[in-house]
């Protein structure tokens, strides 16, 4: 058994610099974490004193091998209780591993519980000094950082007032500003993308993106699979304390989503979409209008594969911000998104007037939805399509009816062709023709 170890290397000499760019910034080797459960604190004390075990192990993580390189953005997904937070705490140095080793090159910054551990009676400035000193900064370094932190947190003269006079949003902003101002080499973010009010959420998101663009290593843990897919270039799925899947976000999340859907009750408790605080967002959806086949409104009847659906979104954004992007997602009856599009991913730039108002329309020609009831979610996002300003959901927006043109199976009609072979079972036979679905439907016997 390897001795549990956490090593951090905070400095490099010049000769190591080039190698360091290629070397992993974080390496976990056979890491396990077991929490010790005791009947009483006295049992725990007796074990500490005598060295004789008096506990039962509860395994939180086992056999974790993970290497993360410079500039990687690693998404960590998994259900509640899977071990994600324990993993992040191990990497942040808050917990020692029970087995294995954790090797970290550089300073780690963790945004795990924002607004926590501020002293209520000390001023914001004094709390900044305390937090930064805990992070290992010198007084001179902190002196240099304080103006930037105060500016970023945007709390003005409140920086000199006791934290107990702050709103929860102000505390969260200050905490986020401190955690990210210490210029960590590895930034750990646990469910902290929507910090404070809407305007600051956008600002904090931009800062995280700046870390990514600057080539910092980010470990991003979130239930927002949309964000994980959008931000990360690799993902791991933690399940029951082990890495169940590791790879590209698209591949890992596809498996994870499938698992969530299999576990119906669990998935109902775990949001797979995006939730936003819309109270003080800097961008608002003003209206959403659906139209198809000459009808207009928020609830339409459509013909499968025939109707042209148009979604018109009117928005207003703070004119000092770049024009937003718009996303439209189709939802199942139980509100799971299954298809959609965003203007950012399609490379379409929105425009807004001097008041920040604008309108976008997206058309889905010959909508390939099959018979059923569907909802529509409209997202107003930042210009990069990553941060959600506001979301509007229209339940039961579309009632799609069968049409002669479309009688597929499932939710969406897939383009398809059938190949009809003259002698099925004879490998050498040449296909005689490709048939469109309608042709197949009109001569069912020929498809046998």
């Amino acid at each position: 058994m390897n001795a549990p170890a956490v090593q951090t290397h905070s400095t490099f000499d010049a000769s190591e610099a080039a190698a360091a760019c290629r070397a992993p910034v974080l390496r976990l080797s056979a890491v396990a974490k077991r929490y010790r459960m005791y009947r009483s604190d006295l049992d725990r004390l007796l074990e500490i004193v005598t060295g004789r075990p008096r506990h039962q192990d509860v395994t939180a993580l086992s056999g974790i091998d993970l290497t993360v390189g410079h500039g990687e953005v690693l998404g960590i997904v998994g259900r509640n209780g899977a071990g994600k937070s324990t993993l992040l705490k191990l990497i942040a140095g808050m917990l020692p591993p029970s087995e294995g080793s954790i090797d970290i090159h550089g300073r780690v910054g963790a945004i795990l519980e924002l607004g926590a551990a501020f002293h209520p009676q000390m001023s914001g400035r004094e709390n900044v000094y305390l937090k930064a000193a805990i992070a290992g900064l010198t007084r001179a370094e902190i002196d240099a950082l304080v103006p930037e932190i105060a500016a970023f947190a945007d709390i003005g003269p409140f920086i000199e007032r006791p934290v107990k006079t702050y709103s929860s949003g102000m505390s969260a902003r200050l905490a986020f500003a401190v955690a990210t101002a210490v210029d960590p080499d590895v930034l750990i973010i646990d469910e902290a993308l929507s910090v404070g009010d809407g305007a600051f959420a956008r600002k904090s998101f931009d800062r995280i993106m700046a870390f990514r663009d600057a080539g910092k290593t980010i470990l991003f843990c979130s239930h927002s699979l949309y964000h994980v897919e959008a931000i990360c270039n690799r993902a791991v799925w933690i399940d029951q304390g082990r890495i169940r899947r590791e790879g590209s976000p698209a591949a890992v999340l596809a498996d994870y989503r499938a698992e969530l859907e299999r576990a119906d009750t669990a998935s109902a408790q775990e949001p797979t979409g995006v939730t936003v605080d819309t109270r003080q967002t800097p961008a608002r959806i003003l209206s959403v209008v659906l139209s198809a086949d000459g009808d207009e409104g928020r609830s339409l009847r459509l013909r499968a594969g025939r109707s042209n659906l148009s979604v018109r979104v009117r928005f207003r954004i703070d004119p000092t911000l770049p024009p937003p992007s718009v996303g439209v997602a189709f939802l199942t009856a139980d509100q799971r998104p299954f298809a959609g599009a965003t203007s950012a991913r399609d490379g379409v730039l929105m425009e807004s007037d001097s008041q920040g108002e604008g309108e976008a329309e997206v058309m889905f020609p010959a909508l390939p939805l099959l018979k059923g009831h569907y909802g529509i979610a409209v997202y107003l996002l930042c210009e990069r399509g990553l941060h959600v300003y506001e979301q509007a959901t229209i339940l039961d927006a579309l009632q799609v009816e069968d049409s002669a043109a479309e009688r597929g199976i499932g939710l969406v009609s897939l383009p398809r062709q059938w190949r009809l072979c003259a002698g099925a079972g004879s490998p050498g036979e040449t296909p005689t023709a490709y048939a469109e679905p309608d042709a197949v439907a009109s001569s069912p016997t020929s498809a046998r």
Binding site: R44, G93, V108, E126, L130, A133
Partner: protein, 272 residues
Amino acid sequence: MRARALATALPRATADGLIRPLAALWQQRLLLALLLRREIVGRTSGTLFRAGWLLIGPALQVLAFWFLLDVVLRVRLPGHVVFLDYFLLGILAWFLVVEVLQRALGIFAEQAALYQRGDFPLVLLPLLPLVMATLVHGTLYLVVSTLLLGIGALPAAAAVLGLLFLLLLPASYLLAVLGHFLRDLRQLLPFLLTMGLYVTPILYTPDMLPAPLRPWLILNPFADIMALIHHLLQDMPVTIGNWLRPLTLWLALLGPAWLLFRRSEPHLRETL
């Protein structure tokens, strides 16, 4: 086997038990200063005199003692030593000891927010009550020593504070861990300290004890410490035993206290 391993580890732990906390004290001085400030603000927030109360409170107690013992009761000791001087130099040192021991017992629970959400150096926490008490009570001690004995007593008073700081170092780590996992101690210690005040020559000199009881003082390390304090400040007689007994106990505690702290570190982080 375990006993052999422990015997091997103890000499190193004894050295570490002294060196590591002192090294942390220096290396983390900024953090420690901020924590002290945090504590002072927390303890005196909303009051008119703010941090001044940390000194005003004990100073008022000193005044009360002076009024009772010197003005009202006119207590006198045989010989050249003034009883008020003897009493104040002893009781103020005792207050320091009491504050360190009592606060050390609950320091890990009290400061849990600091290490619940970050990689905080736990080694600093048992030092916090020690440094805080030395600063607050130490300042008053220096002032009172100077007032009672003259400016020439300052070096000796500073030496007393240094001695107390070092002697209390292993006790602070030991009690911080024991108090965290054995909370009954928090209930028991105030009683033990009250008893300690009565069985330690603070309100009386060792000579004032009945002769059959005097030999028992060797079982009380605080009696030796008081003897050393009065020797350093008031040139009262001291025996080699008064030096050796606390030194031996201190050396014996340094290693186990440090080992216990090191072993309990992962438990402390896990339990919160």
